[in-house]
């Protein structure tokens, strides 16, 4: 397969859409997961069970619900987002946010609970305490980020349903692979799959390097 302009455009769009969705899920999931991990309130276990269920949300179900919401007759129809990259970002954020939230909560709950008291006992404000807890849990938190990114870069159902796989507009690597396979263009589909795998590997390699940088053995 020639490394043509269309492949470059599809690859860049995949990275942009999944990158923005991962960032958005981090901005939502990190504080929410922290609140769940450190909070002591009625209903906490119930919310955690919902989040944990959300970690296994089928992308195609998310795609269906988001698509119905964004249709012209849907509650968010006025936003005119359906079949745009932003619709894919929205759906992928809904897929990744529970993953990041659940793994953030698990990462912080795995720390010694007395660490909170120690930090407060040393005069930390609540923000200072949380920043230091995040630092202590940075290895599992980066794993949460990797899992969030992995869940969206590889999904196809939601992107197909809310993006429509429109050439030059909303076609991403996974939807392009599905299309090429359905056309019987297996060589091209395999090449795109290899490209997706290499990109995913390189991004996770970078994140793993950041994760392991501070680990002393």
């Amino acid at each position: 397969m020639s490394f043509d302009r269309e492949v470059i455009q599809i690859t860049l769009l995949s990275l942009q859409v999944s990158g923005i969705a991962t960032t958005a899920s981090l901005l939502l999931g990190l504080p929410f997961g922290t609140w769940l991990a450190l909070g002591d309130f009625r209903g906490r276990s119930f919310i955690l069970s919902i989040i944990n269920t959300g970690m296994a949300l089928p992308p195609v179900v998310v795609g269906l619900v988001v698509a119905m919401s964004l249709w012209r007759s849907g509650p968010l129809g006025d936003l005119r987002l359906i079949y745009t990259p932003w619709a894919i970002v929205l759906a992928q954020t809904i897929i990744a946010a529970p993953v990041v939230t659940g793994l953030t909560a698990a990462a912080l709950e795995s720390l010694d609970p007395r660490l909170q008291q120690q930090l407060l006992g040393l005069g930390a404000s609540r923000i200072q305490m949380i920043l230091h807890l995040w630092r202590e849990a940075r290895l599992p938190l980066l794993a949460a980020l990797m899992a969030g990114f992995g869940s969206v870069i590889s999904e196809v159902g939601a992107s197909m349903m809310v993006g429509g796989n429109i050439r030059g507009q909303t076609r991403v690597l996974t939807t392009a692979i599905v299309l090429e396979t359905s056309k019987g263009e297996f060589e091209r589909a395999l090449a795109l799959s290899a490209l997706l795998l290499i990109l995913t590997y390189l991004i996770n390699l970078a994140l793993t390097w950041i994760q392991q940088r501070g680990v002393k053995r």
């Binding site: 010694d112 007395r114 660490l115 008291q117 120690q118 407060l120 006992g121 040393l122 005069g123 930390a124 404000s125 200072q128 230091h132 630092r135 202590e136 501070g214 002393k216």
Partner: protein
């Protein structure tokens, strides 16, 4: 300096600690002694305002802890836990952590950290990661991290229970020297009667979630307030 009146602390539905009346005087070391699970650590957590009383009050400089801003109050005290609970940082950064929280400048932090690292025999370990320290070294870092703050009130929860006996004896000796030199108001929790008698100007006996008696080791030994105190203090070296 600290007054406790009619204090009741609940942990869940259980009454974890009752203190009718206790005064902690400026400059004294009060050793809190009692069997495991008696409520000693609960008392320290309440003094640090890390748990709130169900009833009664604790005052610091005549102001109830409920009226103090928590962060402001905790920046006047220091807490040393049973385990060192060091952060995954260098020894230097660990010792300076509380100073950083207080917004001190880097140069000031460095000067104070170096001084206390030297005092605690940690000068050669400043660049070492916390995870590379022995138990005794880690507990020394924990002590330095508290002393470097120059706290008005030092709260110590069985700080040497996790280290081996020779290291424990040396740390106790060092701590005793520092406390008598600085006259720092200290509440020192231990379940070891000998340690309590060695460290404390006065001893408070907590048994079954209740402060039973406060006095010098000799006073308590000669006039125990009830049978439970008498039974517990049988091991006191007086």
């Amino acid at each position: 300096m600290i007054q406790i009146r009619d204090l009741l602390i609940r942990r869940g539905k259980i009454d974890a600690l009752r203190v009718d009346s206790l005064d902690i005087r400026r400059g004294e070391t009060l050793a809190v002694v009692g069997p495991n699970g008696a409520g000693k650590s609960t008392l320290l957590l309440a003094l640090a305002h890390l748990i709130k009383p169900a009833r009664g009050m604790i005052t610091f400089h005549n102001t109830s802890l409920g009226e103090w801003d928590d962060v402001k109050y905790r920046r006047m005290i220091a807490f040393v836990f049973q385990d060192p609970l060091l952060m995954d940082l260098s020894v230097r950064e660990n010792i300076g952590l509380g100073l950083k929280f207080r917004g001190l400048e880097g140069q000031e932090i460095m000067t104070r950290v170096n001084k206390w690292a030297k005092t605690m025999g940690l000068a050669s370990l400043l660049n070492r990661r916390a995870g590379q320290l022995s138990g005794g070294e880690a507990q020394r870092v924990s002590l330095a991290r508290a002393f470097v703050l120059g706290p008005e009130l030092l709260l110590m929860d069985e700080p040497f229970s996790a280290v081996d006996p020779p290291t424990r004896a040396q740390l106790l000796k060092d701590l005793s020297r520092l406390l008598s030199r600085d006259h720092r108001t200290t509440v020192f929790v231990t379940h070891n009667l000998l340690e309590a008698a060695q460290m404390g100007d006065r001893v408070a006996v907590v048994i079954g979630g209740e402060l039973k008696q406060v006095g010098t080791p000799r006073q308590i030994k000669s006039r125990p307030s009830d049978a439970s105190v008498r039974a517990f203090l049988r091991e006191l070296p007086y």
